[in-house]
């Protein structure tokens, strides 16, 4: 049953690419249209004020053009964001501090490091929890508690404490990312490692299998579908953690820093461009995990 649930998205994606393009395009068009209308409405106030102050009368077409071409709009129009994105991605050498590719790389490297640490910690803790009753009772409450602390409160503390210890750059951000990503892995792995039913473990006992034989040959392979489902959540969480960690640090690098400096200077186009890069990054990372998931589970006969 779980296999079917976990693999359902895979099947759906295949169908998407073959026949369901029209509904997707329709939804996209509706979003863009709503976005344009919202941009006009939200940016119009400022234009009207300006016009009143200058004592000129604005015609409707004039007003519309102006709301869509402001320098610092309240809500930039889609084409402005697209231009900002293009400028940031293709208009700069990738090593430039104004390149979104460079900032994305800074964020991505911390995300991947944090994801690796978080996944490692989550898996190890899960193994401990499944094998030891006392760990089950002692670790789980702390793990849950760790996730109830708002990350926005924790992140600055970690950054400040670590930088006072002389540790800056990738590591503090990776730790925040790991903080958010270990939890889904822990929960998924605990569930996964416990999936083998009584019959499966009885079979193992009937062969007098040792604990480690049971783990490597039965529990670990059985847990993989759950692990992959968790990894998809964890990698997106790691990205969020990294971006949050880039906000308070006074950092000048990374998508989080771009978001923050954009809001300091009212550069809404910059904010939205950075947001879009972050979204694209998240989607790409999740898609990569999904591909690895599908390949692995298909090879293992767990996906059908």
């Amino acid at each position: 049953m779980t296999d079917a649930v976990l693999n359902a998205p895979t099947a759906r994606r295949w169908r998407l690419s073959t026949g369901n393009l029209l509904p997707i395009l329709t939804v996209l068009l509706v979003i863009v249209a709503v976005w344009y209308l919202a941009a006009m409405r939200m940016n119009a106030t400022w234009e009207r004020d300006q016009a009143v102050r200058a004592g000129v009368e604005l015609t409707l077409p004039d007003l519309i053009t102006r709301t869509l071409t402001q320098d610092r709009p309240v809500l930039p129009a889609p084409h402005q964001v697209a231009a900002g994105l293009w400028e940031g991605v293709a208009g700069q050498p990738v090593t430039s501090r104004r390149s979104l590719v460079w900032h994305a790389w800074v964020t991505l490297s911390a995300t991947l490091a944090g994801f690796a640490i978080g996944t490692g910690a989550g898996v190890l803790l899960a193994v401990g929890i499944v094998h030891s009753r006392s760990m089950d009772q002692s670790v789980m409450p702390w793990a849950v508690a760790s996730q109830t602390v708002p990350i926005l409160a924790i992140a600055p503390m970690v950054i400040v404490v670590m930088s006072s210890a002389g540790i800056t750059g990738l590591l503090p951000k990776a730790i925040i990312a790991a903080w958010l990503s270990f939890f889904p892995v822990l929960v998924g792995m605990v569930k996964g490692l416990r999936t083998p039913d009584a019959m499966q473990t009885d079979l193992m006992r009937s062969w007098s299998a040792s604990g480690s034989q049971q783990f490597w040959r039965l529990r670990l392979p059985s847990s993989l579908p759950y692990l992959f489902a968790s990894l998809k959540v964890a990698i997106a969480a790691a990205l969020v953690g990294t971006i949050v960690a880039e906000l308070p640090s006074g950092a000048t690098a990374g998508l989080g820093a771009r978001l923050l400096s954009g809001s300091y200077y009212g550069q809404t186009v910059q904010i939205w461009s950075a947001l879009f890069v972050a979204a694209i990054l998240a989607a790409t990372l999740v898609a990569i995990v999904s591909v690895i998931e599908r390949r692995t589970l298909t090879r293992m006969g767990l996906a059908r």
Partner: protein
Amino acid sequence: MQTIEARGVSLTFQTADGPVHALKDVDLTVAPGEFVSFIGPSGCGKTTFLRSIAALETPTGGTLRVNGMEPDAARRARAYGYVFQAPGLYPWRTISGNISLPLEIMGFSKADRAERIARVMDLVELSGFGGKFPWQLSGGMQQRASIARALAFDADILLMDEPFGALDEIVRDRLNEALLALWRKTGKTIGFVTHSIPEAVYLSTKIVVMSPRPGRITRVIDSTLPPDRPLDIRDTPEFIALAHEVREGLREGHSYD
């Protein structure tokens, strides 16, 4: 030496609703090479008794010996192979890989494993399917693979808990015939739990009739059928008389309702 020897075996489960007497004063002796069926209504302790022999449960009273040893020691000496109602094959292993699993756990060499896998696959008539994955096989074939897995390490006892219960009648007949042939060829001692009177009579040299609350043996019937049993033996008067006796035994256990 007897293969299975139970003297006054009792097993009481302590549950939230109070004690459940799954087995009470069970006496049974099984000689080497016998085919013993356990039959009785649900909850009469058939599974519990089989699991006790396999050291998957520990009796709370009496003595139980398997090949003259404590069940635990017998298990470590690889005295038995266990077959459950569901095949329980690993989906990520091929049929050969699944049969190989207990052999790997027990530390057989690679060459030895290959030889054994080939031999037991031939025994259950699955030769040529070694490279297939479980989902590529029918339910009956999967269950044959799980029997092969239980045979691979040469245990001389085969314990089977309703192994064909989930299969349809036609497949079941085929498998019963094959199991009987396998038993004659290998000379193993087989303990077989079933709900079906014809199945029990067709297969067994000894039929153990059980009854619930508390779980106990009400009758032990020694079969008079010859070891060679074509399927149509089920229409002979001898067979019908035995089936009648089993039915009588089952009714006795239910005299109160």
